[in-house]
């Protein structure tokens, strides 16, 4: 488990790195956008080589566990907390968890809500453990829209969703350490909308949505966003987004939410399958 935390913090998954590299190639030579992408690229290499955090904000610690019926969640939780404590001692994670009322930071990263662990049961006997470290800067530029939105002229249809999502890109500019990836959920309530939008970030960047409407929307928004000239860090340039992932869940007739989670270029997610002994058998990304 410690190795999962370490690797998540110090290595960018291959699917993300590929797209970052494509972005670097695309930027005009001699621009500050190119310069930013070069530093990003070099940072990725250095973090891996030195086994140190890609970004100093090692983020909210979010585990997603798919497990068989009968899986011992309590023991897992304890193991996850121990791994987080240990990873913090070793400097793979920053002392990053603060008491919201007193402002105290006990330096362990373990406390109410940290780490957060989502369990999902499935019929298979395998255990999948995915980990995402979600930075604060990009989390702060996430947005939730309630449609219709008159100001954006966004109605309750896919066109309206497109307007809302592109508004989120415009408002975010480079503030969430762009180029970023959007995880979007259409529908749900205020809580589940954001939850599902984050889970979209578990998808590989090169996968395609099985729903043709959403697939079209993903491709179109990615292209349009990259034509806006926001660029890496908001310096201007061609690479504003690295990917867009959208899902839809049912809503109640009265609500129509579009929830957008923004993930920075320092996209830290990893995953493993565990064998019966609880050891890592394969890496998922």
């Amino acid at each position: 488990m410690l190795e999962l935390v370490r690797r998540t913090s110090v290595e960018i998954p291959d699917d993300v790195q590929k797209v970052i590299l494509a972005g670097l190639e695309r930027e005009k030579k001699g621009t500050i956008a190119e310069s930013a992408m070069k530093i990003i690229d070099r940072n990725i290499q250095m973090a891996r080589e030195k086994s140190q955090p890609i970004c100093q904000d090692t983020g909210s610690i979010l585990f997603y566990v798919e497990c068989p019926v009968g899986f011992d969640q309590i023991t897992f939780k304890e193991a996850a907390r121990d791994a987080v404590r240990e990873a913090t001692k070793k400097g793979y994670l920053r002392q990053n968890s603060v008491d919201s009322i007193t402002g105290r930071n006990d330096g362990t990263n373990v406390g109410p809500g940290s780490p957060t662990i989502h369990f999902h049961q499935h019929r298979s006997s395998e255990v999948f453990v995915r980990l995402m470290l979600k930075g604060g800067g990009c989390e702060n530029v996430g947005a939730q829209y309630s449609l219709p939105n008159e100001k954006l002229k966004a109605d309750r249809d896919l066109k309206g969703c497109r307007r809302a999502i592109l508004d989120a890109v415009l408002q975010a500019q480079g503030k969430g350490c762009g180029p970023g990836v959007l995880g979007v959920c259409i529908g749900g309530d205020r809580a589940t909308g954001y939850e599902h939008s984050k889970m979209q970030l578990l998808r590989k960047l090169d996968d395609r949505n099985v729903n043709p409407d959403l697939d079209g929307l993903e491709q179109e928004i990615l292209q349009t966003a990259n034509e806006l000239g926001i660029g890496p860090m908001g310096f201007g340039g061609k690479t504003t987004l690295l990917g867009v992932k959208i899902c839809a869940v049912n809503r109640v007739p009265a609500s129509y939410f579009v929830s957008v989670s923004y993930m920075c270029w320092a996209f830290r997610r990893q995953g493993v399958t565990l064998n019966a002994e609880g050891e890592i058998s394969t890496w998922l990304y």
Partner: protein, 207 residues
């Protein structure tokens, strides 16, 4: 493991970079323009949310911290204590600056700060204070914690470690060739405003 980026390994091209070294005089600062790439060398002090709020509320700087003609860096680094009691900086990228917008103008004015390093840009009040008092906003590469930690040559001291915790403490750092982009200059220009306006127009065409 695919190594996709080998061909870009090595030194970042520094042809267009301007050096910005200690002492950070008003003259040097006023010579900078939006879009310039700079390599910063000298002493910088980290300060983020807790420090800004504290100074805004009338708190005093601990002795040893001088911001006059100095640089404040919005950063909460990862620091590891070494066996000999010294500190090693293992990750040190910029944090989002806009949270300090309510306080920054006043701190530039009252403490004579010449440059603020951060990410994401700042707003109108900081822009006005930069123009009036001769200060610039330098945009570091957000998330580039390793590249930037390597520019930290020495951790000279730490203040308010107990009071605010490690990420929020004031760390006194010696940096060399720390890369950043001037996105707010001392002449009233802001790259953030320009890019926002341009992207807003482009989006309007595509809706």
């Amino acid at each position: 493991m695919v190594r996709l980026n080998r061909h870009t390994a090595g030194k970042i091209e520094q042809i267009t970079m301007k050096e910005l070294s200690f002492p950070f005089t008003e003259e040097k600062i006023r010579a900078l323009k939006v879009g310039d790439e700079v390599l910063i060398s000298g002493t910088v002090f980290t300060g983020r949310d807790a420090v800004h709020k504290y100074l805004h509320e009338g708190g005093e700087l601990p002795s040893g911290v001088t911001l006059r003609d100095g640089i404040i860096y919005h950063c909460g680094p990862v620091m590891m204590k070494q066996d000999d009691g010294s500190w090693k900086c293992t990750a040190a990228g910029p944090t989002t600056s806009i949270r300090e917008e309510p306080y920054q103008w006043q701190i530039i004015r009252d403490f004579g700060v010449r440059a603020v390093i951060g990410k994401g840009g700042m707003g109108e009040r900081t822009l006005a204070a930069c123009k009036e008092h001769g200060c610039v906003y330098l945009h570091g590469i957000g998330g580039a914690a390793q590249v930037l930690a390597e520019c930290v040559k020495k951790v000279r001291n730490v203040y308010f470690l107990e009071k605010f915790g490690s990420p929020e403490a004031i760390w006194e750092l010696d940096v060399a060739d720390f890369p950043a982009i001037v996105t707010i200059d001392a002449h009233g220009n802001s790259l953030h405003k320009e890019v926002f306006a341009r992207s807003e127009d482009e989006l309007a065409k595509r809706l």
